[in-house]
């Protein structure tokens, strides 16, 4: 199950960065988001998986699709001439990935013995990482962060309205 989702995830991610067509990239990214939601389900983070579906695929990616839809008719907008890729960038990319692959092989030979610090106070509260556990921690330990989030979102609302509020359309 894990491998199925992992391959799907990597495959769609590669499509995202390698395609020339913006719409394909956006749709592949949507696929990535959905697969990741399923990975969250697999990790028993059920509420987060559903939130991933609602917020990312339901809202963020819709915005992306809308923007592409509005602008794609100008054919040359998305055909930005790409400068010849610098050699160093290519070499470093190849080196990075080869390093990664060899690292993975090393790990697979002798697995990492990670010692994880368990927060015993809170892990007692929750049996199976369900929503109730999440909200207990969210509204006790992280309450301040939660309220700051409210202020932050308010600021974003005001900012976005003042940036984007204008008469007329998207082109003139």
């Amino acid at each position: 199950m894990f491998y199925f989702f992992a391959i799907l995830l990597l495959f769609s991610a590669i499509i995202v960065v390698s395609t020339k067509n913006s719409m394909t990239a956006i749709l592949a990214l949507t696929g990535t988001m959905i697969v990741q939601a399923f990975l969250f389900f697999l990790l028993k983070a059920y509420f987060l998986g559903a939130v991933q579906l609602i917020v990312y695929t339901g809202a963020v990616m819709v915005l992306f699709v809308m923007v592409i839809m509005i602008f794609n008719n100008d054919k040359e907008v998305f055909k930005i001439p790409e400068p010849p890729m610098s050699v160093w960038l290519k070499i470093s990319a190849v080196a990075w990935f080869s390093g990664l692959v060899s690292g993975i092989f090393l790990i697979s030979k002798n697995s990492l013995h990670l010692t994880l610090v368990t927060d015993s106070n809170f892990s007692n509260l929750l049996k199976d990482m369900s929503i109730n556990g999440l909200s207990q921690v969210l509204f006790t330990k992280y309450l301040l962060a939660f309220e700051v989030m409210g202020v932050f979102l308010l600021a974003i609302t005001v900012g976005v309205i003042s940036i984007a509020k204008s008469r007329g359309g998207t082109h003139e």
């Binding site: 990214l29 917020v55 915005l63 790409e82 990075w96 927060d119 900012g159 082109h171």
Partner: protein, 106 residues
């Protein structure tokens, strides 16, 4: 080796996460359109979220999930503002090219 393939543990999720992150990073370096840059940013954020949730699952600690919850909302807000700026930029410059940003003067 075979044992490593069968028993899916934390390492597998971390490997997946770092691969996803590197793909996103690669895209971030190679693309020039503002929208594609935002897309690759999303990819990297997703990779980080995945590792957070994996840690949270295997360490039996819910704090990781709360962090992801916050990270998701901030990422979503960031995309909203980023695309608003991109559209505004397009209105002025008729292009999504990131190198045009250098020419902007206040």
């Amino acid at each position: 080796m075979s044992n490593f393939l069968i028993a899916v543990g934390l390492e597998h999720y971390l490997i997946l996460s770092i691969l996803l992150f590197s793909i996103g990073m690669l895209g971030f370096f190679f693309h020039k359109s503002i929208i594609m840059l935002l897309v690759c940013l999303e990819l990297m954020l997703n990779a980080v979220n995945l590792s957070f949730v994996a840690f949270s699952h295997f360490a039996n600690n819910i704090s990781g999930q709360v962090m992801v919850f916050f990270a998701m909302s901030i990422a979503a807000a960031e995309v909203g503002v980023g695309l608003a700026i991109a559209v505004l930029f397009f209105k002025k410059k008729k292009s999504f090219d990131i190198s045009e940003v250098e020419k902007i003067k206040g």
